[in-house]
Amino acid sequence: MKGYRKYFGKKIFWFILTFIAAVVLNFILPRLMPADPVAAITGRIAGGNTDAKAVAQIYERYQEEFGTNLPMHQQFLKFCKNAIHGNFGLSFSQYPRSVSDIIGSAIGWTIALQLPAILVGWLLGNLLGALAAYIRKGFDKVLLPVSLFLSNVPAFGMAVVLLVVFGVYLKVAPTAGGYAFDMIPHLSWDFIKSVISHYQLPFWSIVLVSIGGQAVGMRSMSIYELNADYVKYSRFLGIKDRKIVGYVFRNAMLPQVTGLALSIGTMVGGALVAEIIFSYPGLGSTMYSAVTAADYPLISATTLIITIMVLIVTFLLDIIYGFIDPRVKAAQFE
């Protein structure tokens, strides 16, 4: 128990250090962009004004509002103080909307799209990879090239192909939006059906691309494990195939679990490509437009959420590893 405490104490220390470094970078990096978003807001309100003093006053007013007139370290302290209370300030690009409001309205869609897509892609990919390694023969000969092909199709390519084939030509799925263009959100089966029907293409565009990569990885790991000494030794001992396969998959699964955890950690970054191609709501396109508009508060807030998610997931992973792999547990005690 003491070993655990020491191990996790050390881990927590490093996580906190990483977190602080990430927060500083999240804050500073967007602000190093050679853009002045306050000028853009001033322009929107002062266009046509020929009174230099009046324009300067408007500019100063917004500088004060956003705190961009303060030195960087003071801005940072203000940011930290507000962030602790969940207040990330006002967005530059969607001013006067607050960053929390923007993230709040988009994050539900992102999680609803990403989480099932990541899980299904991971499950199907690993299942197919493991089967390919175990069955070999014809199944593997078909699955391997298909998986390689899928894993190398760029996400936007897959999304566009699905859009054109199923949306435009076959007309079996809608091409844009999170629900029907003629509906107002309400709780009814028709509306839920509409959401599901709009969900299909963005969902499969993510799943298909991730299946390939997962399957290739799982297949290689499984083949490696199937040839390991402990498998041969187990066979000599006459242990049943089913039992051996259990050992094999447990060992082959480890790197895949890491991949899954990291995918879940970064999922709030949104499925940028799917969101843009299918005009699907979510944080991906929000982040993209924040970056192109140099919307520091929105960029900092979304990247901070991603940072926290990744750190939490990595920490949990460390704990889970100890349980699912005794070798890791042993290493943790060293």
């Binding site: 807001i41 006067p96 869609w109 844009a176 263009f181 959100p185 599901i196 191609i277 299918f278 140099a294």
Partner: protein
């Protein structure tokens, strides 16, 4: 496993819906035959419903295109880009100047009402202007320098012009702009917001026009009101008590019950929806738009059946940066580059011929409308105009000016240094990027090194509004399109000195061109009422512009695009279509997206197919 996945999906879906769920009162499925769908106006989520606020990003309700958008908040007058006239909306058609143009009077229509049934009065007009000046919103910034005060009682209003040192009005044309571009807000509501915000200007600007429950609080006068909005769409519903059904205005309600705008991620998504019939009115540039009906056989049309398909009102322009000595000191260089550019290629490729060529409409300071074209003497400037791709002429001009290549590297020199410039526009603005490529190609043909540069818009818009910048040599921006103060405003943007040295200059003369003679002529125009004198002034200014070339336009372009799908609705504005006014007169309906200025008349002309 399959059931588990299905269950997980369903749970996720319900969770996500709980975030955005909205219990709509009324239709939850918009009846197709009662709804007019738009694309290309609303990008991103609506920020606010406050007509005196800022950055509302509420393109269907509070914005201007070819006139002010009139569906929810209304202006005193509607601008018609086709005939260049103002038509009374909240106000009667009786606006009149006093003799020295220091005061403009008009009356508000007796029938004009707020949505709660109360009268629109002079107090609303006065308060709208006063609060604008107090909190420096768009109205205050744009018209504060030109309007001294607004006074009146009941339905009578007087706008007093700000006077210059000579006791003359600073600019009567800008007062006409106020009439058609300022949406009138409710005086009582303004007082309520001011009180709630403790008089703080920023808080007033940021008020979203909604109450704590998220319901619309701001009064409106227009025929439609907010029905629903989220990250994916904004929907308006007709107010069947709209005052405009009075015989003194439209005499009826607009035809569609709902107006809906899906928020698409980009132009291609909107175009796909237009083709699918999910969009009726599309305000987007569609390359080779004619192919939609000629090749795809879709029931899609534009204002004109033939090119340029729409009414072009503005001219995206390349501005020379006069902070750079090589540019400022060499008018011959400026003109030579402009002469060498292949505009026909830009118009054919970047605009897919949705612009008249410079052979059809020779370049000047005017947009291609008949009204503006009649404002200058074409013959007087014919020798100065160029249609482009004149490499020999450009080379001769440069040789004559002594800008020659002395070291044999193919690039001309000035003061011993090779002439090397950049041509800049925002990344992703593809038609502008194609234009900048043509400018660079023109440079290569005449021995001037021009490299293209496409920064992100967030960076671009910070640099080009800086009056001291020396980063961009040739850069693009569009001048004003069509308002009562145009072409004066546009000419002022091309050569006026009001904008020289202004920090965060979003207003005009982005190249910081200084010409006192031109500036003096520009300043005479707003006070000139004699037509011949006006024509003479504009002709002189055109001569200066075409000689000095402080900037050069690359194409003509509509201020709003107008492609319509006629699978559900028909009788959209087409060439020659009119609206019958209350007095029986026929007025041309402009292709102004069915929402802008007098273009809103289109909503009263619409008919269902079949």
């Amino acid at each position: 496993m399959k059931k588990l996945i299905a269950l997980a999906l369903a749970v996720m879906m319900v969770l996500s819906l709980s975030v955005t769920a909205f219990a709509a009162e009324g239709d939850v499925v918009l009846p197709r035959e009662e709804t007019l769908y738009f694309a290309g106006q609303q990008w991103g989520t609506v920020n606010s419903w406050n007509p005196i606020g800022t950055n509302q990003n509420n393109a269907m309700a509070i914005a201007a295109g070819a006139g002010q958008r009139e569906i929810m908040f209304e202006t005193l007058y509607m601008w018609n880009v086709l005939d260049g006239k103002l038509y009374g909306l909240l106000a009667n058609d009786d606006y009149a100047w006093n003799d020295d143009m220091t005061a403009l009077t008009f009356t508000i229509k007796d029938a004009a009402k707020w949505n709660d049934g109360s009268d629109v009065t002079a107090a609303d007009v006065i308060r709208t202007f006063d609060i604008g000046v107090e909190i420096a919103n768009g109205t205050g910034s744009s018209y504060g320098p030109f309007i001294e005060s607004i006074e009146g009682e009941g339905k009578s209003v007087t706008i007093n012009a700000k006077l210059n040192d000579a006791g003359q009005p600073v600019n009567p044309l800008k007062i006409l702009d106020f009439l058609e571009l300022t949406v009138i807000a409710n005086a009582a509501w303004i007082d309520q917001v001011v009180e709630a915000c403790g008089g703080d200007a920023t808080a007033i600007l940021n008020d979203d026009g909604l109450n704590d429950a998220g319901e619309l609080e701001v009064p409106y006068t227009g025929p439609y009101t907010r029905y629903f909005d989220d990250d994916q769409k904004v929907v308006f519903i007709r107010d069947d008590n709209y005052w405009g059904q009075d015989a003194s205005m439209w005499g009826k309600l607009p035809v569609p019950k709902y107006i809906a705008h899906t928020i698409y991620a980009d132009n291609p998504a909107g175009e796909v929806a237009l083709k699918e019939g999910e969009v009726d009115v599309c305000q987007q540039f569609i390359g080779n738009v004619q192919n939609l009906w000629l090749e795809d056989g879709l029931p899609i049309s534009t204002y004109y059946e033939e090119a340029p398909y729409g009414v072009c009102l503005t001219m995206p322009t390349a501005w020379y940066n006069m902070n750079m000595p090589v540019i400022a000191e060499n008018p011959a260089l400026r003109k030579a580059i402009a002469m060498a550019v292949d505009y026909d290629s830009i118009i054919a490729n970047a605009m897919t011929n949705q612009s008249p060529s410079f052979a059809d409409v020779p370049r000047s300071l005017m947009n291609p409308t008949d009204g503006e074209q009649a404002l200058y003497d074409h013959d007087a400037v014919a020798d100065l105009q160029w249609a482009g791709n004149d490499i020999d002429g450009a080379n001769a001009l440069l040789d004559e000016a002594g800008l020659v290549d002395t070291d044999g590297d193919g690039i001309r020199e000035y003061n011993g240094e090779k002439i090397s410039l950049n041509a800049v526009c925002p990344n992703g603005w593809t038609d502008w990027q194609a234009s900048m490529e043509q400018v660079a190609a023109a440079g290569a043909k005449i021995g001037v090194e021009i490299t293209t540069l496409y920064p992100e818009y967030s960076i671009y818009q910070t640099v080009f509004v800086d009056p001291d910048q020396t980063e961009y040599a040739i850069f693009m921006w569009s001048p004003d399109a069509s308002t009562p103060s145009n072409p004066w405003t546009r000419v002022n943007q091309f050569m006026g000195m009001d904008y020289v040295g202004i920090q965060n200059n979003w207003s005009g003369n982005w190249g910081q061109y200084v010409n006192e003679e031109a500036d003096a002529l520009i300043k005479q125009i707003p006070l000139t009422t004699d037509e011949a004198e006006l024509k003479d002034l504009y002709t002189q200014l055109t001569e200066i512009y075409l000689t000095e070339v402080p900037s050069f336009s690359l194409m003509y372009r509509p201020s709003v695009f107008h492609a319509v799908n006629e699978s559900v609705w028909t009788n959209y504005p087409y060439e020659g279509q009119t609206y019958t006014m209350a007095d029986g007169s026929e007025v041309l309906v402009p292709p102004a997206d069915c929402t802008d200025g007098f273009g809103i008349a289109a909503l009263y002309n619409l008919e269902l197919v079949g």
